[in-house]
């Protein structure tokens, strides 16, 4: 089954990290991505640019509303995702627990609705 691991974290806290720690943080993500790759379960993954670069579009009553900013203004933001293909929810949960995002934020596990 395919699952999306959605990483929610406080991006301000990450940006405020000293350079060495930020590098260690990125290295952890690179190692994690490599582990998923080696296990043959990684379908896709990406890091998202900061919410300062986000634009939200919504059409209401035929009119296009454009909002400068993210969809939800919460403390923790969607900062990246991994799309993985594993046997079941237990496997997806154990990969989610290994994701660095689970330590500095939270990882939401969502099964993919195959189209």
């Amino acid at each position: 089954m395919k699952y999306m691991l959605l990483i929610y974290a406080n991006e301000g806290a990450f940006q405020a990290l000293p350079k060495a720690e930020a590098e260690r943080g990125l290295a952890a993500y690179i190692a994690y991505t490599e582990a998923l790759e080696k296990a043959g379960v990684r379908v896709a993954s990406n890091r998202l640019r900061p919410i300062a670069n986000a634009t939200t579009v919504r059409i209401a009553e035929g009119k296009t509303n454009v909002l400068n900013g993210p969809y939800a203004d919460t403390r923790e933001q969607l900062g990246g995702y991994y799309l993985i293909d594993v046997a079941d929810l237990d496997a997806a949960m154990s990969w989610a627990a290994r994701c660095p995002g689970a330590s500095h934020g939270a990882v939401e596990v969502r099964p993919i609705w195959e189209m």
């Binding site: 089954m1 699952y3 046997a87 079941d88 929810l89 237990d90 997806a92 949960m93 596990v109 099964p111 195959e114």
Partner: protein, 416 residues
């Protein structure tokens, strides 16, 4: 007039339903993870059995017959409900299953996936409140209304939560497997809770008038033994088994020859089952050697204290009240609060018990809970408040579903 063949077929279907329901659901759903579809297919198979067996005769292996029909119904259902790729993968799983076992497995050969089903129902990704009800439905075939009444939840809400939980098992890919030893402790607690809930439900029908329920206490004890055999070093699993065995040992003493309810204080202690009590004591002792106290061990210890009291001719209510104190600290359950109030009433007098019962009564869940009102009536009687006792008994009578207990409560009310 019901013909003999019909009656025989109905009895055979009923017997198979009781003994094999969970096994058949677990087998039908363990690959597809579709518990609702397995239940639907099985209920269609039971309907087919009731149509076929009276004229064709009951098959030699009723479980295998039901399984064969249920699998065909499941495949039909999958074709009806699903389209395209999804249907194809579902049907492929069903086909693999058919190829894996014989087309007509004998009863002994139907692999027992019940434990895996139980752990799927108690998975951490399932809402905590629905784990036990889900197990009762999937493993033991309870309907949503019965489960709702056992869990003090409105029936419509319970039915909806059950549907959502089954959908989550299917759509989120919750596996049917027995957890590794390292995960077992976290995963065990909700399992024990559900087993105890099943036992309590069976315990509520001492007259054995409802076939499903009569067997339920036995099923729960069976599940309890299974868990203990799988996890011999888990004290709470032993504690739960001890608790259930103590209660089961008193089953026959709860009704007199006329079928009337007999409260614990008036039971004929010769009717208690001594070998079961002995087994329960052994389990509790084994658990206590592991030095990890828990809810079930404490409740079993209460039962043990009653047994000791029986042998000594006088219950040690102060000790029992102490055990309930420890239980309150662990569970904060309103039902434990009632029992604690009763123990304190016995140890220190009705007035002291009433103070605790009043405090417990702040919990809105107790407003429609018969034992709360019956306990309250009894304590009000003892302090001489006949008007209050009469009112509380009326509420207790109005809330009770079991006719024998209703009769008992009415008699108590009449003697005010």
């Amino acid at each position: 007039m019901v013909r003999d063949g019909d009656r025989h077929a109905c009895a055979a279907a009923e017997r198979t339903a009781r003994q094999g329901y969970g096994k058949l659901v677990a087998f039908l759903a363990h690959r597809t993870r579709d518990v609702a579809a397995a239940e639907d297919a099985l209920s269609e198979a039971f309907a087919a059995a009731l149509a076929d067996w009276p004229s064709q005769g009951v098959p030699d292996r009723p479980e295998a017959w039901l399984l064969t029909v249920a699998r065909r119904k499941a495949a039909d259902g999958a074709r009806r409900r699903r389209r395209g790729e999804e249907a194809a993968s579902h049907l492929r799983l069903l086909a693999e299953e058919l190829a894996e076992g014989d087309a007509e497995p004998s009863e002994a050969q139907i692999p027992d996936h019940r434990l895996a089903l139980i752990f799927a129902c108690a998975h951490p990704a399932i809402d905590e409140r629905i784990r036990a009800p889900l197990m009762l439905q999937a493993v033991l075939g309870f309907d949503a209304a019965t489960i709702a009444s056992a869990f003090l939840v409105p029936p419509a809400a319970m039915a909806q939560r059950l549907v959502r939980a089954k959908t989550k098992i299917r759509e989120a890919g919750i596996p049917f497997r027995v957890p590794e030893r390292s995960e077992m402790l976290d995963r065990l607690e909700p399992v024990l809770e559900a087993i105890y809930a099943a036992f309590s439900e069976g315990w509520a029908d001492p007259a054995g008038t409802e076939a499903r329920r009569r067997n339920l206490a036995d099923e729960a004890i069976w599940l309890g033994r299974l868990v203990v055999s799988l996890l011999p070093d888990e004290p709470e699993a032993l504690g739960l088994l001890a608790l259930m065995l103590f209660a089961e040992a008193r089953r026959d003493a709860r009704r007199n020859a006329c079928g009337d309810y007999v409260p614990l204080a008036d039971q004929d202690l010769r009717l208690w089952d001594a070998p079961l009590i002995g087994e329960a004591e052994t389990m509790l002792l084994r658990a206590s050697r592991m030095d990890v106290v828990g809810r079930y061990q404490l409740e079993a210890a209460v039962q043990s204290a009653h047994v000791v009291g029986w042998r000594a001719g006088r219950a040690d209510w102060a000790a029992i009240a102490c055990l309930y104190d420890a239980l309150m600290a662990l569970t904060d359950s309103p039902v434990v609060a009632i029992n604690r109030a009763i123990a304190v009433a016995e140890a220190e007098g009705a007035a002291a018990g009433l103070v605790l019962l009043d405090a417990a009564g702040q919990d809105a869940r107790l407003r429609e809970y018969q034992p709360y009102w019956a306990s309250r009536a009894e304590l009000l009687r003892r302090v001489g408040d006949r008007g209050g006792a009469d009112e509380a008994y009326q509420l207790a009578v109005g809330l009770e579903a079991d006719p024998a207990i209703r009769r008992f409560l009415q008699q108590r009310r009449d003697t005010l």
